[in-house]
């Protein structure tokens, strides 16, 4: 239970294996919503929020229902039941339900935050960064605490990348880019440069 292990995991999730720049997850909303800094910050916060809640929730679903022998607590009859082929459909259901719940909670307790996040909360259900993080969690067999740290780190990493991109694109508005390269093209090229920058973090450990 040493703290260094979790710090390392967080650093890895935020910088070294940035979910957007190294695994390309959540690219669609990254490109669509990085035109304005305000929007980028709103969406980034929402992703961090949902990811911290969803990854442990998916962990629980996997370890109490789907993994081989996980239904043991219901009855010993299920000791050999392996439902892991249902992982995709149950994870996406958990994520969709969680985003819905988060949206309702935020609306009830913090109307100001709700109006600033607006349309982004429901859209997060189909953001592949969330499902991606949940599937990585399944693949790498994280424990419960690790899954929270990984969710938090992944969310922060994603938010960091989109806010940085929004800031760069704001500057780009004043530069003379060839017309066919505007928008998606130049955003991709800059993401490549950012991704190279983030690669410098490789190998950092505490």
């Amino acid at each position: 239970m040493d703290i260094v292990h979790y710090l390392n995991l967080a650093i890895k999730a935020i910088f070294v294996e940035n979910i957007l720049l190294a695994f390309f997850l959540g690219n669609c909303s990254y490109i669509a919503c990085s035109k304005k800094i305000d929007t980028a910050i709103g969406l980034g916060t929402a992703v961090v929020f949902v990811m911290v809640i969803c990854t442990p929730a998916c962990w629980a679903v996997k370890n109490f229902f789907l993994a081989k022998g996980a239904l043991h607590w219901v009855s010993p009859v299920f000791n050999n039941t392996d439902l892991s082929f249902l992982i995709f459909i149950s994870f996406i259901a958990v994520i969709a339900a969680m985003t819905q719940i988060v949206e309702m909670l935020v609306e009830k307790f913090s109307p100001a935050l709700h109006s600033s996040l607006g349309i982004f909360l429901p859209l997060i259900a189909v953001n592949c960064a969330i499902l991606g993080a949940a599937l990585f969690l399944d693949q790498r067999n994280y424990n419960f605490l690790e899954s929270i740290v990984f969710g938090l780190g992944g969310g922060i990493g994603w938010a960091l990348a989109i806010v940085a991109m929004a800031a760069i694109r704001k500057k780009l508005a004043y530069s003379n880019i060839p017309a066919p390269l505007r928008g998606l093209g130049i955003t991709m090229l800059i993401s490549g440069l950012m991704s190279m920058g983030f690669m410098c973090f490789a190998g950092i450990r505490l």
């Binding site: 720049l21 190294a22 695994f23 390309f24 997850l25 959540g26 690219n27 669609c28 490109i31 669509a32 082929f85 249902l86 992982i87 995709f88 459909i89 994870f91 996406i92 259901a93 969709a96 259900a125 189909v126 953001n127 592949c128 969330i130 499902l131 991606g132 599937l135 990585f136 693949q139 060839p178 017309a179 066919p180 390269l181 505007r182 928008g183 998606l184 093209g185 130049i186 955003t187 991709m188 090229l189 993401s191 490549g192 440069l193 991704s195 190279m196 690669m199």
Partner: protein, 210 residues
């Protein structure tokens, strides 16, 4: 009423999906997997087939039941149909192509949240009959596949000097000092390559972003 299977209108659907409104370069959908699975051509091809199958299949299913889906819960219905198709693909891959399945790792599952699938369901299948929706799904899948395979070819040749696992760059090149471009197999190479392809495609098709 009845229309030829490949009428002018239907041909336009195909042309739109493949070229004019190409899902990746024009609609900006499905970029995640286009970048992630293209280090090897084989993985790119398998992924393209998978996505085309899921898009076309889910388009047909949703189009058949489009009049019975209550609008409030349509996203959940769509996700369920898509997940069912993706699970079947994943199980098939695990049974018959385990190495490719390992290489694609989480990205098979991520077809569920691939924006192309959801985008086509929302934009097309919810308002069009099954055959048209099938063509639309097929065409968008083909447009996606074309870009994916192109990126796959370039990244595999320049990144590892192979094509579908066979060495294509002669040993004499390496003897003369040629080295594989390591950047191609890493994340930045994918971004640069896709950026360039978008640039070229848009220069030819004449599409401009405001």
């Amino acid at each position: 009423m009845s229309e030829a299977l490949l009428s002018t209108k239907n041909k336009k659907i195909i042309k739109d999906g493949v070229w004019d409104t190409n899902p990746i370069t024009f609609q900006i959908l499905g970029i995640c997997s286009a970048l992630a699975v293209t280090t090897q051509l084989k993985a790119a091809i398998v992924m393209s087939l998978g996505l085309t199958f899921v898009t076309a299949g889910s388009n047909v299913v949703i189009s058949l039941i489009r009049n019975f889906i209550p609008p409030q819960i349509r996203i959940i219905v769509q996700l369920t149909v898509v997940s069912a198709l993706v699970i079947s693909i994943d199980q098939l891959l695990r049974a018959y192509m385990f190495d490719v399945s390992k290489q694609l790792s989480v990205f098979v599952g991520l077809i569920i949240t691939n924006c192309i699938v959801m985008g086509r369901l929302e934009a097309f299948a919810m308002g069009n009959p099954p055959w048209k929706s099938f063509l639309d799904g097929l065409a968008n899948g083909a447009g996606y596949s074309a870009i994916l395979i192109l990126i796959g070819i370039v990244r595999e040749i320049f990144g590892s000097g192979t094509l579908l696992g066979h060495h294509v760059i002669p040993a004499s090149f390496y003897a003369a000092g040629y080295v594989n471009n390591g950047m191609m197999v890493l994340a930045p190479g994918a971004f640069f390559l896709l950026g360039t392809i978008v640039w070229i495609q848009r220069s030819i098709s004449g599409y401009k972003e405001s």
